[in-house]
């Protein structure tokens, strides 16, 4: 429990700040977001993040896995290079380009976020599976495991910490990117922040910023716990820095 204390303090602070700002209700001529509206935008924000994550995991995991198979090894250096380069690209550029191609709205935001999240997931899945000691696999084969059994019982469990680190990194990062996506009409907390910024109403900015930060902190903690659960005992969970957007 003690480990979670700083996280809970930070989270509590964010929730408190949100409630405080919402209770102000009105600043000068500008009405702040009502509780019901705020809740709706939180849900919307979460929706964008979860959809994008689901899409990214659904595509990224199999893709990363396939790249480790012998038949596809030849493309893997290219793809790994691409994902590394893709991660250096600014999120705003990503969102902008997807808005140009797909038009404004939720769809463009979700797809932009998914593609951006895809990169660390593919890379980490690939790296995680490649890092499984060949001796372990040989031992499994020697004991009579089928290829499918080796994949499910040896390779995936051992690669899980690294895969999960990729998922966590990209998802937490996307909480922030989803806020930026508010700008292309996808809704979410970004919209509140941006209207606050546009009208120079600090209270409104905070009304959007505090729950966004709270969501990021909470998701990071939840996925961090999941990462630990999914890490086979006797292995240390992998850690990776969150790249901000």
């Amino acid at each position: 429990m003690k480990r979670y204390l700083p996280m809970l303090v930070a989270l509590g602070g964010m929730v408190g700040l949100t409630i405080w700002m919402t209770n102000i209700g009105q600043v000068g001529f500008f009405p702040l977001a009502a509780p019901s509206k705020l809740l709706r935008e939180v849900m919307r924000h979460l929706q964008i993040v979860v959809y994008a994550a689901a899409l990214a995991i659904g595509v990224g995991l199999p893709l990363g896995f396939v790249l480790t198979r012998r038949a596809f090894r030849f493309v893997s250096p290219i793809l790994v290079g691409l994902t590394n380069m893709g991660q250096t690209l600014p999120t705003l550029a990503f969102i902008g380009i997807f808005a140009v191609v797909l038009g404004l709205g939720l769809q463009a935001a979700v797809i932009a976020l998914a593609v951006y999240a895809l990169l660390p997931i593919v890379r980490n899945t690939y790296a995680g599976i490649r890092s499984v000691d060949p001796a372990t696999k040989e031992a499994a084969r020697g004991m009579g495991m089928s290829t499918a059994q080796i994949v499910w019982k040896v390779e995936l469990p051992l690669a899980m910490p690294v895969i999960m680190a990729g998922i966590r990194t990209s998802t937490v990062l996307n909480v922030g990117t989803a806020a930026v996506a508010g700008m292309i009409g996808a809704g979410g907390l970004g919209e509140i922040i941006m209207s606050g910024l546009a009208m120079r109403v600090t209270e409104m900015v905070l009304q959007g910023a505090a729950p966004t930060a709270g969501l990021a902190i909470a998701l990071d903690a939840v996925l961090g716990t999941a990462e630990q659960w999914l890490t086979p005992r006797g292995m240390k969970p992998a850690t990776e820095m969150v790249f901000r957007g």
């Binding site: 700083p6 996280m7 930070a10 380069m85 250096t88 690209l89 600014p90 999120t91 705003l92 550029a93 990503f94 902008g96 380009i97 808005a99 140009v100 404004l104 937490v172 909480v175 922030g176 990117t177 806020a179 930026v180 700008m183 292309i184 970004g190 922040i193 941006m194 606050g196 910024l197 120079r200 600090t202 900015v205 905070l206 959007g208 910023a209 505090a210 966004t212 930060a213 990021a216 902190i217 990071d220 820095m241 969150v242 790249f243 901000r244 957007g245």
Partner: protein, 225 residues
């Protein structure tokens, strides 16, 4: 539309150049101070008997980095206006980028210094090097490449966050994208996206090279990066 983008770039190269310079100014000031404070903090917390402090600092910095940039800009607006300072533009963006840049630099400095082989430190001490000489002649030269790797991460990350900073009036290449979205001018969006991406890639490559050059010859493990 691609043709339009091309024509826009051709007609406005001076403007784009100015935005790039603005962008780079923000990055330079922010990462300069991130390196300055980050290395100092990293050295300080790597001192003997400060393990708990180091953990706390690292934890705070890692919470810091999960906070979305727009949210951080919002918080800084609140704090700066409460202090009676300019709450939009260059200042909040530079502060935010400095804070984001701190984590990779503190962490890399700390790890590099604490992971210097204790045998080496004992050898240095045994030969009569003072603690300051050990820091300057042994620990820091060995830590420089690792610190540079942290700086590289920080710069690449911050180029993207600085682009978002254009929304609160800090200028830079993000301006093109925001203006393009607000007035629906796709060629502006594409131009902004291209240049900010090029800047990012160029910074990554350049700093990769600098990282290699900053690595003392005896510990370079691979060929040219």
């Amino acid at each position: 539309m691609l043709f339009e983008t091309w024509r826009y770039i051709g007609n406005n190269w001076a403007y784009i150049g100015r935005l790039t310079v603005e962008h780079l100014q923000i990055i330079a000031v922010a990462n300069g101070s991130a390196v300055f404070f980050g290395v100092l903090i990293g050295i300080f917390v790597s001192g003997r008997g400060r393990e708990r402090l180091a953990q706390l600092v690292m934890y705070l910095a890692s919470i810091m980095i999960t906070i979305p940039s727009l949210a951080l800009y919002g918080f800084l607006m609140g704090i700066l206006s409460a202090l009676g300072l300019r709450s939009i533009g260059f200042l909040p963006v530079v502060i935010a980028l400095t804070l984001y840049g701190l984590l990779p630099i503190i962490r890399n400095t700390y790890t590099a210094i604490t992971e210097v082989d204790p045998a080496m430190i004992e050898a240095g001490r045994g030969m009569g090097m003072s603690e300051l000489q050990i820091l300057w002649k042994v620990k820091l030269p060995l830590a420089v490449p690792v610190i540079m790797a942290g700086l590289r991460q920080a710069v690449v990350m911050n180029i993207g966050i600085a682009a978002i900073g254009a929304y609160i009036g800090a200028g830079g290449l993000g301006q093109l994208i925001f203006r393009g979205i607000a007035n629906w001018r796709p060629h502006l969006i594409v131009t902004g996206a291209i240049f900010v991406s090029l800047l990012s890639i160029a910074a990554d490559l350049l700093l990769g090279r600098v990282e290699w050059l900053a690595t003392p010859k005896g510990i370079r493990t691979r060929g040219r990066a």
